[in-house]
């Protein structure tokens, strides 16, 4: 037996997420230092801004509700082996669909109006992603590239609609009419943006967990994702599983977009969801496409983002710090296993009695 090295032991304790979080914190401290501020007090000021009192906490997490739904959607697709990178376009489409139903239909009975808006958004997102899934399942069109390109097509289409036929003439260009009050989720904590959408999102998160981990459809998706050949051999309809995984993924992204309109914005405008789709993809990746992991990372990202806002207010350090950190978190998480293997190997080579038994470097070994 080779002696487990210190690095390996520490690494195993820390886990992938812990390692990524530590790297991110260190980088944040370094970047703040580089800007000429005292790192720790600045971070604490940021955290106070994010989590200082109940209304701050509510604001921090209310912001992340649409993102969480979209990330859960992307994760559902990933589990089925469908890398839906088109979340951004689907979020936009869902937001526009919800804004149209909210503004042109109604006022209606509130619950009914909310339901119709969400339905329209999920149909819009689901149809787009489902269509891309169909192209993949039947024509072999790589969904990574097709969904990437669909982002630009869809965002441009939404921009056109918001500037043209659906434009609110009383406003500056690029914005649709305000939705009826009955299409807005009621605020549950006064003076915050925390709305009843919280309950919907929690229910959706629970549903996603059940769907992915316990349901028959989820089993089929996971089998298809893990090994399409095996899935086909045991009689799973692989094409059907691919299309439905994509459709569910897109529908959730659409609902995420709808929540942007129905909880805070009250209308569609051309910059409504910039970057949310990409954040959702990153969260799904770092959460290993597991609903629980995605939920935890989405919560962490909310705190990170709100803290970056707070840091910007206190010091003027740009709040884009949060995008830099989330990207570094992903890279650190992806590189962790390899890094530990390399470090452990180096330590084993340099010292210890088992020098003679040293293994060849893992470099160049392909998975």
């Amino acid at each position: 037996m080779t002696r487990p090295s210190v690095v390996a032991l520490v690494g195993r304790r820390l886990g992938r997420s812990g390692f990524a979080a530590v790297v991110a914190v260190l980088l944040a401290l370094l970047l703040i230092r580089l800007q000429g501020f005292a790192p720790l007090p600045t971070v604490l000021a940021g955290l106070r801004y994010a989590l200082g009192d109940p209304s701050r906490i509510a604001a921090t997490f209310a912001w992340g509700l649409p993102l969480l739904v979209a990330a859960l959607g992307v994760a559902q697709g990933f589990r089925g082996g469908m890398f839906n990178i088109g979340a951004e376009g689907q979020v936009y489409s869902g937001a526009l669909a919800a804004a149209v139903v909210g503004a042109y239909l109604g006022p209606l009975l509130s619950g009914l109006h909310l339901l119709l808006c969400l339905l329209a958004a999920s149909v819009a997102g689901g149809a787009i992603a489902g269509g891309l899934g169909w192209l993949r399942a039947h024509w072999g069109v790589d969904e990574v590239l097709s969904s990437l390109l669909s982002n630009y097509l869809l965002i441009l289409l939404c921009t056109y609609l918001a500037n043209g036929p659906l434009r609110d003439p009383t406003r500056q260009s690029g914005s649709t009419r305000n939705v009826a009050d009955t299409a807005m989720f009621p605020v549950i904590l006064p003076h915050t943006e925390l709305t009843a959408a919280l309950f919907l999102v929690l229910a959706l998160a629970g549903f996603c967990w059940w769907l992915a981990e316990r349901s028959v459809a989820g089993y089929r998706w996971r089998m298809t994702g893990a090994s399409p050949g095996f899935a086909a051999a045991v009689g799973i309809d692989v094409a059907g599983a691919r299309i439905s995984a994509m459709a569910v993924s897109g529908a959730l992204c659409g609902v995420g977009g709808a929540l942007l309109v129905m909880t805070s914005q009250g209308r569609f405008w051309t910059g409504i969801g910039t970057g949310i789709g990409w954040d959702a993809v990153l969260l799904a990746l770092v959460g290993r496409a597991r609903p629980v992991g995605v939920l935890a990372w989405a919560a962490g990202y909310c705190v990170l983002r709100a803290s970056a806002r707070g840091v910007e207010q206190a010091t003027g350090i740009p709040a884009e710090l949060s995008s830099v950190l989330i990207a570094v978190i992903i890279i650190a998480a992806a590189a962790r296993n390899g890094l530990l293997a390399v470090l452990a190997d180096r330590l084993r080579r340099w010292g210890g009695p088992d020098r003679a038994r040293r293994r060849s470097a893992p470099a160049g070994v392909r998975r």
């Binding site: 800007q35 990933f78 589990r79 082996g81 890398f83 990178i85 192209l135 024509w139 072999g140 069109v141 790589d142 990574v144 590239l145 097709s146 990437l148 390109l149 669909s150 982002n151 630009y152 097509l153 441009l156 289409l157 921009t159 056109y160 500037n163 043209g164 994702g225 893990a226 970057g275 990409w278 954040d279 990153l282 990746l285 290993r288 496409a289 350090i317 740009p318 884009e320 710090l321 949060s322 995008s323 830099v324 989330i326 990207a327 570094v328 992903i330 890279i331 992806a334 590189a335 296993n337 390899g338 890094l339 293997a341 390399v342 893992p362 470099a363 160049g364 070994v365 392909r366 998975r367």
Partner: protein, 306 residues
């Protein structure tokens, strides 16, 4: 200059960044580390081209510095995907977000501006007048007076086409992707070859971004690559390793972009015109997949179970 000449000239101008990025990406396809991070690498190149040009006041320095920076970034990326065994797909996706965030972060930290940065101190890449060609009808105005990177890109097409037939290096690159064991037995260093491919890719992508920020404009705007990196990725997937197809595809996208700029907004809303290159890419992808039915063109995605 007639309308046709202007259209063709701008078509060539628009195809340059796509061509450069696609030429850069091609070797990473050979080593099977094709990644979706071209967009981010281009954005970094566009940003640092402007920064170094602004600092040094010379476009030549900007080109050299940006190329060096791209190479360094490529080695880092290569080390991540080979040595540290990170998935090229995951790191590439993160790179796109990182580039979007970091360029804005640095733009605001260093220059205190949001959205766009322009200054008379930013040098433009000087247009090159080809002495023999300038007087010819049609050819002169179209081929002469382009940015030096445009000529470099077309030169590289020839170099790459020649190299892919006659050099050991390209054979090593292809072997690193198709049969790494064979390359190792033959005495090649798989890791080094894969890192080299990434360094080449990032260098050219950085120059492609620089062509956008210093060749076509002399300013940097947030997210100015707007999907061109993804279009280049589509080109690399379409071309199936053939340099001729790669050039034809890049030119098609360049012309589509030129058309979208020139279309009268009264005839077609600008958003539809802007869709053209992406529509061409999307349509091409569907047609190609339908006809070949080979899963070979798939982007390598990670397995999430582990």
């Amino acid at each position: 200059m007639t309308a046709l000449e202007a259209f063709l000239a701008s078509g060539i101008r628009f195809s340059t960044p796509i061509l450069l990025a696609a030429l850069g990406c091609l070797p990473t396809r050979w080593t099977r580390d094709l990644n979706v991070g071209l967009e981010g690498a281009m954005l970094f190149g566009a940003f640092f081209g402007v920064v170094t040009g602004y600092a040094a006041g010379s476009a030549g320095v900007a080109v050299l510095a940006t190329a060096a920076l791209g190479a360094a970034l490529g080695v880092a990326f290569g080390a991540l995907v080979t040595w540290l065994r990170a998935s090229a797909f995951v790191v590439g996706t993160a790179l796109n977000v990182l580039a979007g965030g970091l360029t804005v972060y640095l733009l605001r930290s260093w220059f205190g501006v949001k959205g766009a940065f322009s200054s008379p101190r930013i040098p433009a890449l000087a247009a090159v007048e080809l002495p023999g060609l300038s007087h010819l009808p049609l050819l002169g105005p179209v081929l002469s007076g382009q940015s030096p990177l445009t000529y470099a890109a077309w030169l590289l097409v020839g170099v790459l086409a020649w190299a892919s037939r006659h050099t050991v290096l390209v054979r090593h690159l292809k072997a690193a992707g198709e049969h790494p064991e064979a390359l190792r037995v033959a005495g090649g260093n798989v890791t080094r070859v894969r890192i080299l491919a990434q360094a080449w890719c990032f260098t050219l992508c950085a120059l492609a971004g620089l062509q956008l920020s210093l060749g076509q404009l002399t300013l940097f705007t947030e997210g100015m690559t707007s999907g061109l990196g993804f279009v280049a990725l589509a080109v690399v997937i379409f071309c199936r390793g053939s340099a001729a197809l790669l050039v034809a595809m890049s030119a098609a996208f360049g012309l589509a972009s030129a058309l979208s700029v020139r279309l009268d907004t009264a005839v077609l809303p600008p958003q539809f015109a802007q869709m053209l290159p992406y529509l061409v890419a999307f349509g091409g992808l569907v047609v190609l997949s339908r006809r070949s039915r080979v899963a070979e063109s798939r982007i390598l995605t990670p397995t999430l179970e582990d």
